[in-house]
């Protein structure tokens, strides 16, 4: 009898805790989503999808293939057709710095949207590298261990110095994407293995740039000038020229690990490189980026909800953005 009563009581208590419920509230229904993030020099495009109700399974984004779409570049309008291979409405024209681009799309079920943006001008920048010995100051042991590095093996750092030259016009918006990595060829006793590893790096003490960072784990990293933060993998920094002096230097101390500590296998060859992109963005692209970052950085229920910024007018959301990009890569010291 005691066991039965106890079981019932425990069962009651346990099943009282959670239950699935119906959603009670307002919902817009599926909305038209326009994604048109155009790089100068590439052909312009528009990707149209519909949004998914939050309780529906997330399959591939439902493409909207039968909308009436047109794109206007510098006053010349052209109707776009859907390309099932690229899953886009693609134009044959390319965008150039200074071009004014507009889109409009309408669908009998999802309504109509319009948007306009102007391609920004190219910016000038230069890059330089040099080496200096690694210094532990201000970097905590736990941080180094977390990144998987053996602190005893780090032998040097490589400083990457990117100077953005401030132009005559103001209110410009930039993004720097930075991706240091290593390509290591190791001998496993039978053959060689080629391993690509992201490199760790930090911004040293005194870095005062007020930018936001997003790391590969999509977590927000504070730029505290007193405690340098060690990061790993690709990062992007978004900022405006209001944050620049005449030139702005990004110094990344790339922590290059000595080879003997890597996987305990003999190293045949190792190459250390940095891929980087510098982008000049339109205000719409910049504002959208910041809004998306804020959304990605939410702390779940402990954060306030966010209304994502959009320059799409009408019954839809998304972005018509433009940017100018220069990419390069740089090889670091070779073992």
């Amino acid at each position: 009898m005691k066991k039965t009563v106890t079981t019932i009581l425990i069962g009651l208590l346990a099943c009282a805790c959670t239950k699935d419920i119906e959603y009670r509230g307002s919902d817009s229904g599926p909305i038209l989503v326009a994604n048109s993030m155009n790089r100068a020099g590439d052909t312009a495009y528009l990707r149209l999808t519909r949004s998914t109700f939050f309780l529906e399974p997330r399959t591939a984004a439902a493409a909207v293939t039968d909308a009436d779409v047109s794109m206007t570049i510098d006053g010349v309008s052209r109707r776009l057709t859907y390309d099932s291979e690229t899953m886009r409405y693609a134009d044959v024209r390319t965008l150039q710095p200074g071009s004014v681009v507009s889109i409009s799309a309408s669908h009998p079920e999802y309504g109509s949207i319009t948007a306009t943006d102007t391609v920004p001008q190219q910016i000038e920048w230069s890059v330089d590298t040099f080496y200096r010995p690694f210094a532990m100051n201000g970097v905590s042991i736990d941080t180094i261990y977390y990144q998987g590095l053996d602190v005893g093996s780090i032998d040097s750092v490589c400083v990457f110095d990117l100077s953005l030259l401030k132009g005559e016009s103001s209110n410009r918006y930039f993004q720097l994407e930075f991706d240091p990595y290593s390509t290591v060829v190791m001998w496993n006793g039978i053959t060689t293995d080629t391993i690509h590893l992201p490199l760790s790096y930090r911004l040293p003490t005194g870095t005062m740039i007020a930018v936001e960072m997003l790391d590969t784990a999509n977590s927000f990293i504070d730029m505290m000038d007193l405690i340098p933060v060690v990061c790993t993998g690709a990062h992007s920094f978004t900022f405006t020229d209001r944050q620049l002096s005449d030139t702005t230097h990004f110094e990344f101390e790339i922590l290059r690990e000595s080879l003997d500590s890597l996987f305990n296998m003999p190293t045949v060859r190792a190459e250390f490189s940095v891929r980087y992109s510098v982008r000049s963005m339109s205000l719409a692209t910049y504002t959208y980026q910041k809004s998306v970052r804020k959304f990605m950085n939410q702390s779940g229920i402990m954060s306030e909800p966010i209304t994502l910024w959009t320059n799409i007018q009408g019954s839809g959301t998304g972005i018509l953005g433009t940017y100018v990009e220069r990419r390069d890569s740089m090889s670091l010291a070779r073992y």
Binding site: D20, F54, L55, R279, F295, S303
Partner: protein
Amino acid sequence: MQTFSIFYAPILRIFALQNRYEMKRILSLILILTLCTAYAVGQKHTISGYIWDAQSHETLIGATILDLDGGRGAITNEYGFYSITLPDGTVNLRTGYVGYRTHTQSITLDRDISLNFELEALASLDEVTIVGNRLDLSVKGSQMSAIDIPIEQIKAVPAVFGEADVLKALQLLPGVQTGTEATAGIYVRGGNPDENLLLIDGVPVYNVNHMFGFFSVFNPDALKNVTLYKGSFPAHYCGRLSSVVDIRMKDGDMENYHGNVSIGMVSSKFNLEGPIVKDRTSFNISARRTYSDLMVNAAIKLNDSFKFSDMQDDMSMGYYFYDLNVKLNHKFSDTDRLYVSWYSGDDDIFFNYLESDTGSRIKDKLDWKWGNTVAAIRWNRICSPKLFMDISANHTRYRHRMGIGVTETDKTTGESSYAGLDMNSGIYDYTLRADMHWTPSSVHDTRFGAFYTHHRFNPDVVCVDMDGTFRESGDTVLDNHISFGENSIRAHECQFYLEDDISLTQVIKANTGLSMSLFNVGGKTFSSLEPRLSMRFLLSENFSLKTGYAYMTQYVHLLSNNTVSLPTDLWVPVTETIRPEHSHQIAAGAFYQLEDIADLSLEGYYKTEDNLLEYKEGVSFIGGSDDNWQEKIAMGRGWSYGMEFMAQRSIGRLNGWVSYTWSRTRRQFDRSGMVLNGGRPFDAKYDRRHEFDVTCNYRFSDRFDMSATWIYETGNCGTMYTQYYESDMPDKNVYQAEPELGYYAGRNNMRLNPTHRLDLGFNWHRNFSDRVRRTLNLSIYNAYNNRNPFLVYVYTESRYDASSGGYVDCRTLRQLTLFPILPTLSYTVSF
């Protein structure tokens, strides 16, 4: 004289010709008699004094004294003092108070008299505990939107874990809503929790929550009276927009010692009061403490399986809270009294861990503590039969501290190294206050006074300390101390007020007031002139209409997570950017006393608020304030309106109340740089359309009584992203996958399921002797085990999808219930 001459003139003419000398004598006599009569009829004197409980000499707040012949009345103030001015002659007085037998006395009034009354509590079987509104708050009073709750009623309301709670009882009143289930926060007429002024013996308490809001800091055993004002605030209250909860501690029995000890499943408490010097000095002390930490640590010590590692030497951990209330009451003379009040309460979460190996000993320590201290010293003086003075000096502080530390000791050398982090925040107030209560005539009941408060706000300060050589890294750090955060912010606040309760006619009574407040911080001074008015139209002995208006200003804000109360919630002052909040509230209502059955009231209100605060979009409220806290805040406005009905039964074995509230609360944030919801209006988070409460107590016999509470309330709001989509980004290499973004139609677009719950309480009493009585209490919270929503979240699990041949994420909306059916027992011995 004019009346005299008109009346007597014809008679004079008749006698004038007959006997002039005799006439002069008679006329002189008549004149003298008339003047004496006129003088006698206009003469008034004042009766003043205290009204006490006959047994404990505890003063009674809101007790009534009524002139049965003239119909004039007065009520006692917060210290049990009354003053009434009546015409000379034989006066028949009746005094009364809720739960006490009325007392009638005749006196001859020919001079100012000091007269104290002692009322007998109703204790026989047929005269059960009576609840109901005080005279000043009921049909005949000018005050509206206010309710007085006897402490015995609060103790009788069944509550979670069997812990009687003042704020949980207030949540059952019309116009007062809960936040999340079982939390003690109150939302009064659409206002936020920081818009409530909670006073204990006249001193504000800033953080009234234990255990993240599941219990309040007010121990009912220490209290005498609780009054809630929801609107039409008297002018002597200021500083908050939405409500005033005026809580008074017991003074202490001047005649006899008595008290009680109670043991429950979550906490134990005791209360003891009595005379230090009979009829001169008394004390009252109450204490309460939870003991889950004691049980947990006993289990740890007895059971090896609680060890984290083989190197563990010792461990202790747990959570507890305590409250301590102390009051001293000294009577210097019939005119002078001194009170000293003290409240102290803390919550503490702690973890201590000690481990050692051959080389070193390491001690980890976490101590997370938050709590209040309130202290007041008060001097009451009867300056004259018509003038009562109250001077006080008080201090209130709320502080929060979290400390984490690691101490490493080298067993060989004995040297130690330490690394630690401390977070501190708090608010400290020091106040001087003077209040005067003056009754110049039977028509006016006037109050005036002033206070000055020195505020010290301590925003989050983080200190990092390191000292010594750390074995693992080999690093040596000598006495390194780093501090982050803002310095203390000091502010000065003062208030001057004047209010008058005027009996204009038998039908019309008005309470008019004006409050002027000043707040100085950071070299800037804010000021506010706040008019108050409430009026009563007595249409019959049992029926009145009332209306009221109040303008309020608030200079301090609480940065808070609206979901649960966190100890890191931070009080901050107004600044150049964050302006004072203001509210206007008008209310009107009808009040009817259904004799011998119930007091009925129907009130409607409309309230607007300006400079309300919300966190901006995307802001996380973890971490409280930092240098940029102002940039995280948006300012906007709100408005709320509603209708409240209450039927309160005052007599009989069965007593309690039924209440219903219909209300709506909206917000709009459309200022540049502070836009929420695209600048469009939206429902406030705790907007609940309907609320229905039934609370009743029934005394079957002297040995058994029970209470029941049933509530129903519409679900509150939340924001849910209801549509998701993917996005193209120029830096897509940085993201592990294409970012999935959310869209919602409007803020607070989702409404949780309604809450309904039945709570029951049963009391079995037994007298062991004339003085000792024991009570066994069984409380059942959520008696029919309804799954009420605490929070809602999206639950994701991978399921195989045959159509696509792979696994897809399937989502459901899941509701978490915190408290299922919860029976609890407690045992109380009273002596």
